[in-house]
């Protein structure tokens, strides 16, 4: 079974909210919608579910046009960022509710609820009311309800966003395992790159209502097709450097020049934006392309330090292993390994990457 979006668009008074989105999602697959707030994740999910009707394009289920089929006639389950449970029903009845609506026999309901409760570690809590549960348990109840329904399409809209950090970490770990068993089409919206990497599957990056890339999650991370996809898939934010290639030279901000090496070596002349993640820039000692700067701020997080360095035309975030307390204002130079960065051309499309440089 598959869900296919064909040139889906949604316009409202503000203009295009979703712009010409085409995707094919297969049964038994997990697709992550990755993008910042207001990039169209929730809107796209509502269109997939049939909660909203697109103003252009078609939605196909197994090749059948379901664009005009309302949500109640489709097999869809949805989990929202805000936990939604029936406050007057027990946890058991909350999980069982879609099965009761469907009129399943009692024994079948019992079996499915117990199975879902076990997966989501809610066994001891089935007789409680949602108000007696922690936030994490309430959201697990909502997820269990989506799971027992065995819907063809399961949509999870930032399901962990309202949970405590540690709970999020644990559920994030468990969710892929829980859903690996179901044979549904799973769609998971998040703003967080780390979450996408942990969930695996395939990732669709979204930017202002448009799909900027769709592919295997780790491949998208390693080879973002354009500047928007790279930006959405970087945390800390992607560092950028605008430059101009001219023959064997790179013209850098401030009138400096440097040899055109690494991913830039075989590219045609013209303007480029170099995008690099924090781990591909070192502070202090190091080779590669160097930029003098001053420390803006240092953030120590466990065994790593994130050093924000102001290089005059930009402030970059660099990762240093270990604990370093560099003082603001302190001189610090940033070294970029040009063999490990991405080069985007004037239109923002990926022109050079480590993988491309290797195969060249």
């Amino acid at each position: 079974m598959s869900l296919e979006l064909q040139g889906i668009g949604l316009r409202d008074v503000r203009g295009a909210v979703i712009d010409d989105v085409s995707l094919v999602l297969e049964r038994g697959s997990m697709t992550v919608l990755l993008g910042p707030t207001l990039s169209g994740k929730t809107t796209l999910m509502r269109l997939m579910a049939g909660l909203d009707r697109p103003t252009s394009g078609r939605v196909l289920l197994d090749g059948n046009d379901v664009t005009d089929v309302p949500v109640r006639k489709r097999s869809v389950a949805m989990v929202y960022q805000q936990f939604v449970n029936y406050p007057s029903l027990s946890v058991y009845e909350n999980i069982a509710s879609p099965l009761r609506v469907a009129g399943l026999p009692k024994a079948e309901i019992e079996a499915r609820v117990q199975e879902a409760a076990k997966l989501l570690r809610l066994e001891g809590m089935l007789e409680r009311s949602p108000a007696q549960l922690s936030g994490g348990q309430q959201q697990r109840t909502a997820i269990a309800r989506a799971l027992v329904k065995r819907a063809d399409l399961v949509l999870l809209d930032e399901p962990l966003a309202n949970l405590d950090y540690k709970l999020r970490e644990e559920l994030r770990e468990q969710l892929p395992l829980i859903f690996a068993e179901s044979n549904a089409i799973l769609v998971y919206a998040t703003t967080e790159p780390t979450e996408a990497l942990l969930l695996g599957g395939r990732t669709v990056t979204l930017w202002e209502g448009r799909v900027t890339q769709h592919g295997v999650t780790h491949a998208v991370y390693r080879e973002p097709a354009n500047l928007h996809a790279a930006a959405v898939f970087s945390d800390p934010p992607l560092n950028r450097l605008g430059l101009e290639k001219s023959g064997a030279l790179l013209r850098l901000p401030g009138g400096r020049q440097a040899p055109s090496v690494g991913v830039m070596a075989n590219l045609p002349d013209g303007p480029y934006t170099i995008g690099f993640r924090c781990e591909n820039a070192s502070v202090g000692e190091g080779g590669g392309l160097s930029f003098p700067g001053t420390v803006a701020v240092t953030e120590v997080n466990g065994s790593e330090s994130f050093v924000h360095v102001n290089v005059g035309f930009a402030t970059w975030v660099c990762l240093m292993p270990g604990v370093h307390d560099l003082e603001p204002g302190e001189a610090a130079s940033v070294h970029i390994d040009m063999g490990r960065v991405f080069a985007f051309d004037g239109s923002g499309a990926l022109a050079g990457s480590p993988a491309m440089a290797r195969s060249a």
Binding site: P36, S134, K166, T191, L197, Y221, S234, R277, V297, E299
Partner: protein, 363 residues
Amino acid sequence: MARITLDGVGHAYGTARGGAPSYALKPMHHVWEQGRAYALLGPSGCGKTTLLNIISGLVIPSEGRLLFDDRDVTRLPTEQRNIAQVFQFPVIYDTMTVAQNLAFPLRNRKLDPGAIRQRVAEVADMLNLTADLPRRARGLTADAKQKISLGRGLVRSDVAAVLFDEPLTVIDPSLKWELRSKLKAVHRALDLLMIYVTHDQVEALTFADEVVVMKDGAVLQIASPAALFERPEHTFVGYFIGSPGMNLVPAEISGSLAHVAGQTIQLAARFGALQGSTVLGFRPDYTQLARGGGLSVQIRRIEDLGRRRLARVSVGPHEIFATVPEGLSFEDDRAGLLIDPAHLFVYADDRIVDGRQERDVAV
């Protein structure tokens, strides 16, 4: 500007009849110094918000005294405490301009217009709000509005403390980086006592000079971010700080040996007889997977997190997270686990135990 002293401050929401009081915050002693940044970190229900509310005056503690410098403010209402607060969601006036919003706390204090303009410009500059100053707040994004809230919290230089209650909740991940670093830079520049409540360890570790880790109404450890990571004094601190948290594996300790699921680990120190349940604690960051050597483990799963690879392995019934060195691959599911002895700790009934250092212990 002030120093805040918590002198046996605690809070019980009603006392069970004839029984022990049920504490939302167990009595604690601590001094918060002028000019420093503190984070109150813990899961929901740990008491961090109760503590913040006691400082702001929303809650009068059932025990103890709260001092701002030498003044007892335990029972004073919020408006007499001279504090600034920033909440989870933006609290601003939509019909005012950004500049008027920032100036509001100063106008209320009847500062002269020149001083107000100067201070508003200074704070706006720090938060990159200068271009927005003449704009109406209505119509700005949630992020921009929260930036204004932060600015309003920081605009008064005469406050005893600035309190932040999970201020980055509504902010997108990429902007969190910007705001967190701004906040830290502002703190450096303004010499204010800041207290920041969060459940997010990244925010706590990156922002604060000292972090107060709390659970079930009790303070478990107060220390610098580095110390919390490098040497957690309580198993919960080990678990809660770090992502994933510290590996905590039940072990039998005899002398300088630890026995885990039928295997033996050499410790860097010797331990006497220990009371209670004993656990080894070691962080995934200081635990490496290898082709062989060390503890013999079974690989369950290897996750590629972009910057690093993390393995979930098992030893008997215990699950352990370890770092997978770059480029290393495995033919089957057997591997060795190498734990850095300098970062391996022994806990008895959840509290860290110091062993006696031995010179000739081979590691």
